[in-house]
Structures are given as structure tokens and as C-alpha cells.
């Protein structure tokens, strides 16, 4: 197992390096520059800016320097847009915010979605099943860019219960709307996945055996059915969490959270090469780490899976 983890971590290094080179190349190819503006800026101003940010060097030097600074100092360099910030500052501000509401959304989606799916499966073809399925279909056709304005309309404008945006240091009432808006569609997917997977498992021979032994239903579900039923859910959760933790651009923009997603989009449009690189590397690391975690969870849940 340890050997497996070490091997995976070693593979992660060239993966991230490849990601850096690819992103860098794409940025080089994209037309436009971070210092473009509607008014033609005088050449001497552009020269000064390019000198300050090292853009006057050849591309390979900049790439080499970037990787070197990252490897030795964990330094992502200064932001081209936010003149008084470094990319490290931007990530330090934005990432904890994104992490907070992303994690909460994932937990809420699981906490509601899994029990809902299990209930629907156990009470298969009853009104409870219909209700749960109806609810999850309803929720999945309401993506977050539809949910968010509806929630703000109802809870901010009409009822006046919750603030329509902002973060305020993560105060609970500022968290509710973004978390609900983001969690809903994932919750629906988890519920449907759990239900179908659970139905399949409940029809399996080992469950029939367990019930034939006279075990109470409750014990059959918790002890025997739940773990195997969770396998497809877990493979879904891996990429989902990677997505949630790296932030939803839409949630950041709509709720002005100050999370990392909004910086990423603004950087892409404004050609802030430093922020694009920094956030891409961060995302890369998260995706690699979560994939590893999912693989380890598989082994824990399914004794048939062994890594050597």
C-alpha cells in the first residue's frame, strides 16, 4: 500500500510539470497581452511594464524561472492585474473561501443525497420513492445558475432573511445561499446514483442470504448493503469534490464571495498569466490528490481491490 502511494505521488510530479508547460504554451499562443487597453498605451509604458514583469525575456527563460521559483520557494510570482498583490496573496485570500463553501456543499449534498437515495431504494415503488425521485429530478434540472437567482429573489428580496451575497469572514448567514445553490444539483445526482446502486445490491444473492438468515432489515442495509452500494457514489464523488473545492466560478461571481473561481475567470480574460498559472497548478494538485484518495477509499470499501 505504501509503495502504491509513493509511486502515485512520484507520478504526480511529471503530471504537474506537464500541466505547467501545457498551460504556459497555451497562454503564449493566446492573442493579446495583460497590458492591453482600449487606449493605445505609449510604447515606453509597455516597455517598463514588460521589464518589471520579466516579459522582455524569451519564453523558455520565463518558463524555467517560473518552475524554479515554484520548486524552491513555492513562489507563484506577482499578479499582473492586482498590482499590489502576489499570486500567493490572491490564493491565500481566495482559496480558503472556496474550500469552505465547496466542502460544505459537498457534505450537504452527501448528507441529504445518500439517505434520500437509500430511502427511495428501500421503499421502492411506494409514494416515498416517487417523492424522492421527483425531488431529485426537480433539483437536477435546476443548475446553480438558475438556483442562485431564485434563492436570492426569495430569501433576500422577498423574505429579507439572508444577505444576497458577500462573505463577511464566513459568517453562517452568508454561507447558506451559496452552499444551497451549489449543493442542490449534486445532491440530486448523489440521490439517484445511491438509489439505483442500492436497488441493484438489494437484489444480489448475498443480501438474500443475509435476509434468509433472519437478520433485521436495518442490519442488512447498514452492515451488508451500504458499503458495496457506495462504490459508484464514491467514484462520482472524487471528481465532484475536485470540482467543488476548486470553486464554482458562477457562485463566486454571483455571490461575490471573493473565492478563487472569480479570480481565475478574470485572469483568463485579462491575460493575467501569473494568476492563470498559479490557479491551474493549484487545481492540478487538488485533482491528483483527490484521485489518489478515491483509489484508497476503493480499497478500503471493496476487499477485492488490492494495490501492491
Amino acid at each position: 500500500m505504501t509503495a502504491f502511494v509513493v509511486r502515485r505521488l512520484l507520478i504526480a510530479i511529471p503530471t504537474i510539470l506537464f500541466l505547467i508547460v501545457l498551460t504556459f504554451t497555451l497562454m503564449e499562443l493566446a492573442p493579446g497581452s495583460p497590458f492591453d487597453s482600449e487606449r493605445g498605451v505609449p510604447q515606453y509604458v509597455l516597455d517598463n511594464l514588460e521589464a518589471k514583469y520579466g516579459l522582455d525575456r524569451p519564453a523558455w527563460q520565463r518558463l524555467g524561472l517560473y518552475v524554479w521559483n515554484l520548486a524552491t520557494d513555492f513562489d507563484f510570482g506577482p499578479s499582473f492585474t492586482y498590482r499590489d498583490r502576489t499570486v500567493n496573496d490572491v490564493i491565500a485570500q481566495g482559496f480558503p473561501i472556496t474550500l469552505t463553501y465547496g466542502l460544505l456543499s459537498g457534505l450537504v449534498a452527501m448528507a441529504v443525497g445518500i439517505p434520500l437515495g437509500i430511502t427511495a431504494a428501500i421503499k421502492h415503488n411506494t409514494w416515498l420513492d416517487t417523492l424522492a425521485v421527483g425531488f431529485s429530478i426537480g433539483a437536477s434540472v435546476l443548475p446553480n445558475f438558475v438556483m442562485a437567482p431564485i434563492l436570492v429573489l426569495v430569501f433576500t428580496l422577498w423574505l429579507g432573511w439572508l444577505p444576497g451575497g458577500g462573505w463577511n469572514g464566513g459568517q453562517w448567514n452568508y454561507l447558506i445561499l451559496p452552499v444551497v445553490a451549489l449543493a442542490t444539483s449534486y445532491m440530486a445526482s448523489i440521490a439517484r446514483l445511491t438509489r439505483s446502486s442500492m436497488l441493484e445490491v438489494l437484489n444480489a444473492p448475498f443480501i438474500r442470504t443475509a435476509r434468509a438468515k433472519g437478520l433485521p432489515m436495518r442490519r442488512v442495509i447498514l452492515r451488508h448493503a451500504l458499503k458495496p452500494a457506495m462504490l459508484p457514489v464514491i467514484s462520482y464523488l472524487g471528481p465532484t469534490f475536485a470540482f467543488l473545492l476548486t470553486g464554482s466560478v458562477l457562485i463566486d461571481m454571483f455571490f461575490s464571495t471573493g473565492g478563487i473561481g472569480q479570480f481565475f475567470v478574470a485572469a483568463a480574460l485579462g491575460r493575467d498569466y501569473a494568476i492563470i498559472m498559479g490557479v491551474t497548478v493549484l487545481y492540478g494538485v487538488i485533482v491528483v490528490a483527490l484521485n489518489l484518495l478515491v483509489d484508497l477509499l476503493y480499497a478500503w470499501i471493496d476487499p477485492k481491490i488490492r494495490y501492491g
Binding site: A30, P31, G32, S33, F35, D36, S37, E38, R39, G40, V41, P42, Y44, V45, N48, L49, A51, K52, P78, T81, Y82, R83, D84, R85, T86, V90, Q93, G94, A148, P149, V152, L153, T156, L157, G160, P163, G164, G165, G166, W167, D252, M253, F254, S256, T257, G258, G259, Q262, F263, A266, L269, G270, R271
Partner: protein
Amino acid sequence: MIRRTLIGLTTVSALALTAAVPSFAADPQPGETLAEDQVFRYRLAAQFPTLDPQLNEETEGFHVIRQLFEGLMNQDSEGNLVPGVAESFEASEGNTVYTFTLREDARWSNGDPVTASDFVYGWRRAADPATASPYQWYVELTQIENAAAVVAGDMEPDALGVEAVDDRTLRVTLEAPLPYFPAMTTYGVLFPAHESTIEAHGDDWTDVENIVSNGAYTLESLSLNEGFTLVKNDQYWDADSVEIERIEGYVIVDDNQALTRYEAGEFDMLEPVPAGTFPRLQEERPDEANSVPRLCSYYYPFNFRAGDDVPEALSDPNVRYALSLAVDRDVIVDQILQGGQEAAYNFTHWATAGFEQPTMPMQEMTQAERDAEAQRLWEEAGSPDLDLRFIYNTSDQHRQIATVVSQMWKQKLGVDTTLSNSEWAVYLEQRREGGFDLARSAWCGDYNEASTFLDLMTTTHGSNDGKYSNERLDQLMAESKTSENPQEIYTEVEQIIYDDTAMIPIYHYALTFLLNPEIKGWPLENVENNWYVKDFYRTASE
């Protein structure tokens, strides 16, 4: 976007301000009850990149910098010049030497006095190539002695023609007489800077825990892409007249979400309102909906580059004129924009100070007459078979306008148009490099005077992306700089642009916003929209 004003400046500077000129401040009227909680909250449409006055280059940032810092001069509610850190100034030697006397009680937020050397330091810093300010060129524009050489790196920053005679006397030497120089000091690039703070913290000096400012407010908190708060600065020399204790800014990118949150009462000022909602808001909230002129013009320049695959027919001024005639501007302003914008037949925005808008021949015709004339000219030119390449940056509104205009051309003249849109950075590069026949463009005045628009059409201007060139126009614009009566020149230049149809002017901008009527003192008459929260106050809700 920078703004300075020339209104009445020639007279002001001739008289020279004296200490007797009252400063401008919050001025509650009898019978008004002040609200308990003196707070002003507003929406920002985008995160400002910096709070460093010398580095800032855009409007959202300047609105905040104007509350945090104070330059030599301020503007009042009509955009007139009033004293800031300088209590008076004197112009001598034919407006080439300006001597500013700073007020004795001006203080930085840490208690240090604001001295003439703080201005010298700030201005040198702005001009220094090592600072790499995107607004470095502004220093050159001021005509301060040696500015051009300093910004080009040919001279050391200390060669700049600004000098601290003593703590309270700042002397500025210009290379050319510039009657409006004092007005230029209202822009952030020429604000003072606190040397020891900047030297100690470098790029981090604007962080909440480091920043030292000299305006009516200080920075309390800042979270990028979320918002910021400012609180009243007790060290400010005129703190006794400042009523608003606290400013809260909310960054909300989505216009519709911003409107919902305004309607929920989360803040007091929303700008701009979402496209197309202004008529409804004006009806539902007549006390809150405002539309004021904004010094920007929307226009479609023709591409005059040789050998750029531009159809031969477009080199005929009559063909260009026919295309311009066929554009029904009223449809665009009344049915698409609906926010108080004005149809444009000339380039310079109608509200520009001291500018008398010429009446163009087209304006005296009905649209039916224009269409008939367009068709006549078109047939005269042999009804060319055109497929125009039109570029614009991706946005619903630009697309709507371009679609409507291309329909008008198709119906009236049988011209095909290929619309192609790209995101901002790509579009700018395209516009600069050619490969289009017409391009969606807009120009916002750097200062409140017609030359800020008309200079753009000179051959060498960096933003003349249609590469229009007219010798007479170049010569006139050069003359206007020293002319006693530039208005006459401007009229002639507008006429040249019109006769040549160098561009198709579409509309002159308006700024639409919602303002809580409890907030008093908003400078509706200041066309540059430079607002100072120190002049506001909040009345109690009824």
C-alpha cells in the same frame, strides 16, 4: 479613465485662488434630520486592481482612491475646482510656473503633516520608469519640465520640474503655458505619497495594515472580489465637516444580481443599471433613477489601411456617407439602450465642457430623407456589392446594435455584413492590426475638453485604429493647443470628420444609476462623475 475639467479654469487661475475661497463640504439643509447611522454603501461592477494612486488606471479604483487620498485641488458638485491640500495657488510667467501653498493642518492618517515633499515624491514616483505605472504618460501630458525625458528614462526622476520650496510651498515649472494645470492635480496620479511607508513596505504598502493616506477616509478592510470598508479619518484637516462615518463597497459583477440586492436595500447606489431596465426603474422609482451624461462616444470607424483587403468601394466618401445615413440612431437609443443616451452625428460628446455641438446636415433631415439620400448616393456609386467585415468585442449590447445596424444596411442598401465577435483582448489586437472594414469602438474622454476626443483622429494617435489620416485635421489639432479660441477649430475638425465620413458616430453615452434618496450631496452636475463622499450626508428615513 482619467478626468480633469477645464470649466472656468482660465478665469480661476488668472485670479489665483486665495485662502478666502471656501472649501466644499457636506452641507445639511435646515429641516433635514440626519440619520443616526451615517453610512454610504455602493456597488462596484468590478474589482479595482490597485489602491496605489500612482499606479491606478481605471474608474472603480479612482472612486476609492479619491476618498482615501487628497490632491492639491478637489472638485465641487458641479465639477468646479476647489482647494484640497493646497489652500491657494498662484500662476506666474504666463501660466508656466505654478506655486501652490499647502494648508498647515493637512495631515496623513498617522498624524504626519502633509508637506510639499510628499507631492514631489509622489510625482517623481509616477514618472519614474522603475515604478512602471500604466499612467506614466499622464505626467508627460501635464507638460511639467523634463517630464518627457524622465518618463522615457533619459533623465533621473529628480530632474522633474517640481520642487518643495519649503514644507508648505510647492513650485511646479511647466514647459508650455497650461491654464488648466491645477485641474490636472485632481487626478490620482498627482496625489501625494507617503515616502517612508512606501519605502518600508514596497508593493505591500496599500495593504490594510500598512497604508497611510491623507484623504477624508482610511482603509478599514479589503477583500478582493468581495468588497471593502473605509472609515472616517480623524486626522483629515476638514474632518469636522465630514458627515458620512463609514463607506462600504460591494463588488457585484452581475448587473441583475446587483439590482436585486439594491432592491433588497443592501446598498445605496447602483451603477450601471442592467441593460433595458432603466425605463421600468424610472417609472417604479422616480426618486432614485438617474441618467446623467457620461463623456464617452460610441462609433464605428472605417478601416483606411492600404492593402488590408478593404473593399474598393469604401474608399469613396459617398459610399461611406450612405452607410452612415442609413443608420437610424433613434432606434438604437430609444429601443435598445433606453437609458438617456443621445443619438450621435458628430464625435465629441455633446456635454463636453465649452464644446458647442455643431449641427450636422444629416440632423436636419428625417430618417426617411436620409434613407432616400443614402439610396441615391449608393446608386450613383454603382450599387457596389459589398460584404462588410465587422468586428466587435463579445457583449449582448454590442451584438444587438451591430445586428440592427447590419439589418438597416441590408434592407436599405442591400449590403451584407459579416459580424464577428471575440473576447476583449483578442478584439483589441484585431482592431490594432487591421483585417476589418468597420469596428465597434468607444472612446471616453480623458479630461473634460473636446481635444480629448478629436485628437484621436490625428494620424499618429495610438488609438486611431482605423488609421484615418487627414493633413488639414492634423494641422488644426496642433494649432488648437495654443489657440485662444479652440472651439472654432473643433467645429472645423468635426466638419472634416463628417465630410469624409471617417467614422459612423452612433451615440453619446449616459450613465444610469440608482441612488437612495436618503443620500444627499451627490454631484449630479459634475459630468466627470467625480464624487467625494466627504460632501455627502444621510438623512433619516421617513
